[in-house]
Symmetry: C2
Subunit: 171 residues, 2 copies
Amino acid sequence: MTQRRRQLPTSEELRIWRDFIETTESLRSELAARLQSDSSMSPGDYAVLLALSDADGRGLRSSELAATIGWERSRLSHHLGRMERRGLVRRENCATDSRGAEIVLTAEGADAFRKASIPHLRAIRELFVDALSPDQIAAAGDLAATLRSRLDKAREQPRARPPRVEVNEDS
Amino acid sequence: MTQRRRQLPTSEELRIWRDFIETTESLRSELAARLQSDSSMSPGDYAVLLALSDADGRGLRSSELAATIGWERSRLSHHLGRMERRGLVRRENCATDSRGAEIVLTAEGADAFRKASIPHLRAIRELFVDALSPDQIAAAGDLAATLRSRLDKAREQPRARPPRVEVNEDS
DNA sequence: CGGAGATGATTGACATGTCAATTATGTTGC
DNA sequence: GCAACATAATTGACATGTCAATCATCTCCG
C-alpha cells in the first residue's frame, strides 16, 4: 500500500517543541514581570519608548513606529492611548499629512526609558546571555534565522482552503 | 581602577536576543492564528482540551488542571468560564471536597479537540519540525533545557531589593 | 467542639491583543 | 472639479491575562 510522507511530529519532536515554546514563554513572562516590578512598565511600553529614543528627538509617524516594532496599527493606537494617559508620549498633528500623527517622547517618557533600560538589559543578560554558552548563543541565533525564514515563506504563500469548521448558522 | 564584571549584553548578543524572542513570538502568533482559523479555538482552549483528553473520562480538579498546563488558577477560572459558555467543558461539584470543582470534557469539547488536533500538529510540523535540521531540533531541546534551568534557579532565589521606582503618592 | 489559619476556587478591576468598522484626508484620472 | 479609490489612524467590541480581594470549606489543635 502507498505510504504517505509522515505529516505529524513524532512524540520526541513534540516533546522538544513543547519544551521550547513553553520555555520561551516563561522567559518572556519573567522578563515582563521584572520590567513591571523594577520600572512599572510593560514590554510594550519598553518597545515603544526604545523605538522613540532611537528616533532621537524627531518623533515618528504612527505607522513608522508600528513598522519599527512590528505591531498592527490598531494595537499601537490603543497602546499609545494608554501611554499618553500616563504622560509617556504625546501625539502631535503631522505637518505634511493632516491624516497622520507624529508620536513624540515626553521628558517623562525619556526619563522612564533611561531608568528602565539598565535593569532590563541586566535581566536579559542574567536569564539569556549568561545562561548560555557561546555555542548556545550562536545556536539560538541560527534557530531564530531559520525559523524566521520559514515563517516568512509561509506567510508569502497563504495556505489553501481554511479546512472549513462549519459555522452552521442553522443548516 | 577596579573593573567590574561586564553586566550588559554586547550589541551582538542583544541582536541575537531580539531575533530569538521576536521569532518565537511570531511563531506562537502564527500557530494561534491558524488554530483560530482552522478550528475556531485559541491556544488556551487547546491546552485545556488536551489536558482533559489525556485525563481521559475522569475529569480533573481545577487545580490539577492548572498545574498540568502551568497556569495560575485565576487565569484558568476565567478561561473555563468562557469555555463553559461555549459548551466545551462542564464544571461539576467535587464529591470528596465541596470547595472543589471537577472539570469534565463535554462531548462537544472532545469532538472539537479531535478535529483541531491534526491540523494543529501539522502546523507544528510545518513551522518547526520540518523547518529545522535534526541537529537544530536537538539544539532547540538543549536551549530549552538550559534556559528552563536558569529560570527555575532565578525563581528559587527571588531577587533582592525591587530597585524602587518611586510611586510618590505625594511626598 | 470550635476558632485560627490553610486551601480551592471565583470574582472584579483593569491592562493588553485582535478583528472589523469607521473617520478623515490624500491621490488619481476623467 | 470631483467621484472613486487608497491610505492614516482611531474606535468599539470582545478575548485574553494579571493581580489582589473574596468566599466557602477544610484541617488542625487547644
